[in-house]
């Protein structure tokens, strides 16, 4: 099993998200995360889909995406030549002042931002790679995570790559 990032330019039209995600469902492929937003050209949206599978499946995903008429460009990004980030927000439980300090330290260590600091909880906003977010989540998990929201990944290939 491998991990892959697909960056897809699609026609910005109603139903496009359904079309693309339906292709994954009907062909038994997996979606790990998905992020969609309009591009500098308002007629086009960019979808960034992270997925996993063996080489045959990943190659099929690329071809099936390409085959869709509403996909204008399909690229499988090389993670070493790509800037990719995800945003996650965690509401972390705090039981005492000491924990509050430790959580704040953790937030600083990961370059996250603190929001909505209360006696019994704190919100941490982290923009990073999935690995880093997972690591942060694990450490924060010791205190207890009350709620999570994640955006899915946005990615762009580096120039010249």
């Amino acid at each position: 099993m491998m991990w892959a990032i697909f960056s897809i330019l699609v026609e910005n039209k109603p139903g496009i998200l359904f079309e693309v995600t339906h292709m994954f469902r009907s062909r038994n492929f997996n979606i790990d995360s998905i992020a969609v937003g309009v591009t500098e050209n308002p007629g086009l949206s960019r979808m960034t889909i992270t997925t996993y599978g063996d080489e045959r499946q990943l190659s099929q995903i690329g071809k099936q995406l390409d085959k869709m008429i509403d996909t204008v460009e399909v690229r499988r990004l090389d993670e070493h030549k790509t800037v990719y980030r995800e945003l996650a927000i965690f509401k972390i439980k705090i039981s005492n002042a000491e924990e509050s300090m430790e959580v704040n330290k953790l937030i600083n260590a990961y370059g996250a931002k603190a929001h909505d600091t209360r006696k019994d909880s704190i919100m941490a906003e982290l923009t990073s790679t999935p690995d880093q977010i997972r690591a942060f989540e694990e450490l924060a998990g010791r205190f207890g995570i009350l709620e999570t929201a994640r955006t899915g990944m946005a990615a762009l290939q580096r120039s010249g790559a």
Partner: protein, 566 residues
């Protein structure tokens, strides 16, 4: 780009655009949401052919499309009219048939309000169409139609839906059409890469036991002459998939017929021995190859297909050529001619293939009864002119047709092979007859399948589109019965159709000709009467309900493990 000086309604723009695409017939059934379109039939040169169920309209358009290789068109109203089309659309998608389906929709401001006869047909059809349009203004109608035809007919063909809200049909706008359609996300034309064709030739020439496997794509691209020239030049035996049946004349000395679950014994045997397959226009369906693993591990595969996504989907290939089958085979022929490869007599391998073919043609055990499947289908072949078009329904009769009805003139045999839709054959035959009125059209039918769309007899009779229904009647859902006999120890459930209806009376009640054939002589006379008739003819042929289709490769087993008649 051209624009009319006066504004016209969306409905008028639709019909004018259809005329612009060369459409002369539409199969359909009206309702509230497509009345403005229907009103336009009074003002244009397109003939409306009324069906008795929208599923049949889609199958007729499909049959028309496969035979003429131009999109067949069907109309339905919103809600139930549109959902009734779905089985037909899915059938066309599974077999890459060019169809344009036009549905009425509730007015734009009612969409999403659960209005009367509103259904989200765009959402429902999405998984089973090549593409779908929903013009929201009358200006968008003509360009949607132009794009729909372009998409349906090019590359790997398929069905396209155009869903038009009723208010868009009635509203006025200047009609704008483009001179040539292009879409930035759709590039159906890929020229075959010459180097890959060279590699394909190298690989083929080096093989000891090469074989050609021709799929449905060969028929879709009409690559008959090219396929035959390549086979003869290199002296390579030819087998087909079931969908590719008749891509190559089945009376040709190099032909061994279809492979697969109910393939010819000689075809399954020869492909099992082959060390290299030139597969043209096929998607390697499980029904054709048995098991993916066994098929790809036994031999080198060269794959030519217009759809890049088919390369490597089900089979790992050594050499892949992405391109239209006909264009690719033409390049191959040119390169072969440059190499001065002459017509080859063929060596030991070809002799072996010929012996294999002769052996099984003489020695395959057939049902001994007076009206055994092999006998009745060979009789039909004997009496039908070679250029006749044949469709089938789905079941045992379909597989007997594959086994015992030889296609002589390429591209004259059509069946619902991908979705396996019972009820497809009869309306598809009507569509085929509209496309090719000058030749006899026969639906090789089973009773169960015929029941599903038999009301198309009304269309056939009233619209004067005479076809022959060759009803292989076991009063049973025979294929399911065979599986229950074979795999469920004869525990028969839900397969007996009773002696109902009387097909002669049924035909007559529609004003068609009904003939029961209970002997070979009667069958001979019935087929002749059908060929002469100017109304539809149903030939009811009562057969032994216990006759099995053999050979049979059980699902999930390799083609080498074939059950033969004992």
């Amino acid at each position: 780009m051209t624009e009319t000086s006066e504004p016209v309604t969306g409905a008028r723009a639709l019909m004018t655009a259809l005329e612009g695409e060369g459409v002369r017939e539409v199969f359909g059934l009206p309702g509230g949401a497509n009345l403005p379109m229907y009103d336009e039939f009074t003002r244009c040169n397109i003939r409306h052919i009324l069906v008795r169920h929208e599923q049949s309209a889609a199958h007729m358009a499909d049959g028309y499309g496969r035979v003429s290789r131009r999109p067949g068109v069907c109309f339905a109203t919103s809600g139930p009219g549109a959902t009734n089309l779905l089985t037909g659309i899915a059938t066309a998608q599974a077999d890459s048939a060019p169809v344009v389906a036009v549905t009425g929709q509730v007015p734009v401001h009612f969409i999403g309000k659960d209005a009367f006869q509103e259904s989200d047909i765009m959402g429902m059809a999405n998984p089973v169409v090549k593409y779908a349009f929903q013009p929201r203004t009358p200006e968008e109608v003509p360009i949607s139609v132009q794009k729909a035809f372009y998409i349906a007919a090019t590359g790997r063909p398929g069905p396209v839906l155009v869903d038009i809200p009723k208010d868009v049909q009635s509203a006025h706008a200047k009609m704008r059409t483009v001179d040539s359609v292009s879409m930035r996300g759709y590039h159906p034309w890929t020229d075959p890469d010459i180097q890959n064709v060279e590699r394909a030739i190298e690989t083929l020439i080096r093989a000891d036991k090469p074989i050609i496997l021709a799929g449905g794509g060969t028929i879709i691209s009409s690559a008959f002459a090219e396929l035959q020239a390549v086979a003869e030049m290199l002296s390579i035996p030819v087998v087909t998939t079931f969908k590719g049946k008749g891509a190559f004349p089945e009376n040709h000395p190099l032909s061994l017929g279809p492979i697969g679950m109910h393939g010819h014994a000689e075809a399954n045997k020869i492909i099992t021995e082959a060390d290299c397959v030139l597969a043209v226009g096929t998607r390697f369906s499980d029904r054709s190859v048995g098991t993916f693993e066994d098929f790809e591990s036994r031999r080198t595969i060269i794959h030519i297909d217009v759809d890049p996504a088919e390369i490597g989907k089900n089979q790992t290939t050594r050499v892949a050529v992405v391109g239209d089958v006909r264009a690719s085979l033409r390049v191959m022929l040119r390169l072969l001619e440059a190499r001065k490869v002459g017509p080859d007599e063929g060596g030991e391998w070809v002799r072996h293939a010929r012996e294999m073919r002769e052996y099984w043609q003489e020695n395959l055990k057939i049902h001994p009864g007076e009206l055994g499947a092999a006998k009745i289908l060979r009789k039909l072949r004997q009496l039908l002119p070679p250029e006749s078009v044949v469709t089938t329904e789905v079941g045992q009769h379909q597989m007997w047709a594959s086994l015992f009805f030889d296609v002589i003139s390429p591209g004259t045999f059509f069946s619902s092979t991908g979705l396996g839709t019972m009820g497809w054959g009869f309306p598809a035959a009507i569509g085929a007859k509209v496309a090719r009125p000058g030749v006899p059209v026969v639906d090789i039918a089973g009773d169960g399948s015929f029941n599903m769309t038999e009301n198309s007899l009304a269309t056939s009779v009233l619209e004067d589109i005479p076809v022959i229904v060759f009803l292989v009647n076991n009063y049973s859902l025979g294929m399911v019965a065979q599986w229950q006999r074979t795999f469920y120890n004869r525990r028969m459930v839900g397969v007996d159709q009773g002696r109902c209806p009387d097909y002669v009376k049924l035909a007559e009640s529609y004003g068609a000709q009904g003939i029961r054939a209970q002997s070979m002589d009667e069958l001979d006379a019935a087929i002749r009467a059908g060929l002469k008739s100017d109304v539809a003819t149903v030939i009811d042929i009562p057969i032994d309900p216990e006759e099995d289709v053999l050979p049979f490769v059980q699902p999930g087993t390799p083609l080498s493990k074939m059950i033969l008649p004992s």
